[in-house]
Symmetry: C3
Subunit: 345 residues, 3 copies
Amino acid sequence: MGQKKLSLQEVANLVRGELVNLSSEIEVSGISSLDKAGETELSFLSDKRYKNKASESKALALLVDKSNASGMGDRAHVIVKDPYGAAIILAESFLVKSEFKPGVHATAIVDETAEVDSSASIGPYCIVGKNVKVGAGSVIESGVKVEDDVTIGSATHVHSNAVIYRESVIGSNCIIKASAVIGGVGFGYTQDNNGNSKQVPHLGKVLIGDDVHIGSSSTIDRGSFDDTVIQNGVKIDNQVQIGHNVRIGTNTVIAGCSAIAGSTHIGSFCMLGGGARISDHLTFTDGVMLSGNSVVGKSIEQPGVYANGFFGLESYRDWAKKVVLFKNINKMDRRLKDLEKKCNE
Amino acid sequence: MGQKKLSLQEVANLVRGELVNLSSEIEVSGISSLDKAGETELSFLSDKRYKNKASESKALALLVDKSNASGMGDRAHVIVKDPYGAAIILAESFLVKSEFKPGVHATAIVDETAEVDSSASIGPYCIVGKNVKVGAGSVIESGVKVEDDVTIGSATHVHSNAVIYRESVIGSNCIIKASAVIGGVGFGYTQDNNGNSKQVPHLGKVLIGDDVHIGSSSTIDRGSFDDTVIQNGVKIDNQVQIGHNVRIGTNTVIAGCSAIAGSTHIGSFCMLGGGARISDHLTFTDGVMLSGNSVVGKSIEQPGVYANGFFGLESYRDWAKKVVLFKNINKMDRRLKDLEKKCNE
Amino acid sequence: MGQKKLSLQEVANLVRGELVNLSSEIEVSGISSLDKAGETELSFLSDKRYKNKASESKALALLVDKSNASGMGDRAHVIVKDPYGAAIILAESFLVKSEFKPGVHATAIVDETAEVDSSASIGPYCIVGKNVKVGAGSVIESGVKVEDDVTIGSATHVHSNAVIYRESVIGSNCIIKASAVIGGVGFGYTQDNNGNSKQVPHLGKVLIGDDVHIGSSSTIDRGSFDDTVIQNGVKIDNQVQIGHNVRIGTNTVIAGCSAIAGSTHIGSFCMLGGGARISDHLTFTDGVMLSGNSVVGKSIEQPGVYANGFFGLESYRDWAKKVVLFKNINKMDRRLKDLEKKCNE
């Protein structure tokens, strides 16, 4: 495969940059971190703290903003407004994307009632069930199970070995990473007349909007009497568990290893730090920011930054103060002892 | 596919209900939550707090108990003893279950020494190894690996892309959800003569009883010198990790994202809340209820409700008191300061 | 399959042991725990606390050290220096390993540009992409996706249904357990000009050294501008999440359900207890031991044993003291009340 190459003129055009100590005809082969960049690659200085690293970098040239350009001396560099933003733009250009041929691979087993757009790609060893719909330009990689009555929009990319259980609905421009599992029956039991536990039948579905990303090995259970709903623009990292009947509002971001228990509703534009644990049947309003590894057992009615609710939920500021006190609990104990001594004298 | 339909007479018979303001010939198409139910569906009022939702629900009719029936006025309803229980019974009736044809799919690779019951179903792209036994009515969906010497009982359902490592034994009436992994070698190392870490050979197996459910992306490691044992009726949610040599007693329920480290023995009829973390080599007696996200480093010898053992295990009541004190640690600090001032004066 | 058999003479030779009350011609069929061992199996006594179990064990003979041999009486036993070490050696001998035929299974889809060593084994329903390299003696089991430009060394074993994303590099003598996912795009977003979140392109790869083990359902994301690097000898348990640009130093051991957020660098010879949560952009020096379920938000610059950093990181000793104080916070409150009373009198 090999990475693409760009001339420095192309680079300058892409990022509206000014070439310094550089010939515009030189070709560069990529863009990397200061540590990793090779002699034919670019790198970028986005934080003054890395100035030393920058001077040691083997990169052919560095993207810098004006404030850092003065320190560059003879070093080849490209002056841009926002070095990190420019790096992202160039990364996009250098990125070699996998190509997928439209059509159904000979080994994919697609039910005759499925409607797969002619521009969609169904990879080897996929199973596509009855009445499934796959929209224009969508890619289903290899080993994916798409059960009966699933609907997938256009330009959605389902990575290898994912499993989409029956009746799930996935929007357009979504990414479902490898081995994600969507639409399994939720964890709900009642007791039958003999006291044996009996699985609650799940009539609800998983409904996923547009521009949603789901991480690898994440699991999203279907609803019981309600649906499980992931609205437009939601981004979910790896190894996240979403219980039955959960609703996640638009553009909310959920970092890795978080878990949201059944029937909890999270608002829009929330950010859940990694490893967050949210109990069942709660409601979060819009705009809630939750620090990593928070354990939350209460609804959150006001937008804001919330911190580790291990002992019940608190604002980040209140929590931080208590943590300092807790960390000094031994001092508190000593002060108390001193007082006791004094009072007893 | 489309959902089944039931006449209200059939509904009344199924739930032993009394139809009020309703003709017994009307057909209903499903049962949903108060919010979601459409005009041809039933819903149910199981909690007085949802009375307002009930009056706004579009449902054709509501299942209610006697105490709520009086408030129904002209609203069509069905009086039953236990509305939620009745809803479960109806959900079971409306549920359209996937059907699996008995037999081995043409693309499944089944070793000639495997004994697959003629009423069992082996789906596409499954691999079934040597000496595997699959009992009557069991279903192995697509892309499942069943390694050599595995035994699966009757009426067990293994969902897509699960992996059952060699020698695992799975009972009857079990459900193994998509991408679960059972029987991998456990995480144990010794050092060889050169100080390099060397994996402990695992001669033990995973033994799973009857009526056991295992969630998606859950992982259950095989034993080293012992077996890993999951007894009858155990229910395990998604993304649960069970270490080598662990034993889980009958009918214990383990919620999502819990982890039980090696050689720990959990009793029967225990309930572990989601995200629980149990250290290795512990023993829990029967009937232990553990609150969500508990971190437990000690054995539990008395049945009861235990709470977040982050600082060591405690009864739920003791823990709750300390949490209140902790949440007021800043007040305690202030009181201490006041006293210090007083004493110094 | 059935386990192998060894004569007691062979056993004695393997573990340099002395047979007592035993004929060297007797054959044994395996080695198990004291509880589980059958009448034709060996067991071992590695801890005096299990002496009662030992006397009740059905095992044909026990491995014991000299100190415990005296209490054996008429019981058949084998005297060895280190009973557990001897048991490991014998387990290795009794272990029946799966055999894999060299060559590519007829149903594997291997790109013509891939270089698969003739002694390697590619199992059924695998997909092997362009320019992939698989070294001598490596085994790729069934249903594995190996994307374009992946390199796998020699004697590496990739278990069923794992997914190796494009450009990942895996060394020799590695084990990748079932359903592990390596090389997916990391969880990083920027905002485009319209305020919509946009995935950061990931030019970095996952680079895995030799003798590395990766657990089932573990997920390791590729780097963005850097690579994600797992150095030689690292052992990673099930359900571990490794974020983009993370580096793990040689021989570090990471227990189950741990998560390491993006760009964090862990040193060599570290041990992370199960369920550890490490924030992003941190650095751990070599030789850091972290207790289970630690939540760490700060770099660690000194080797040593660290404990639950829930309130910020501390040495194990300091932490343990504070936990005792915390557990007595109600007593502290009472003492404070007593003092207040006294002072007010």
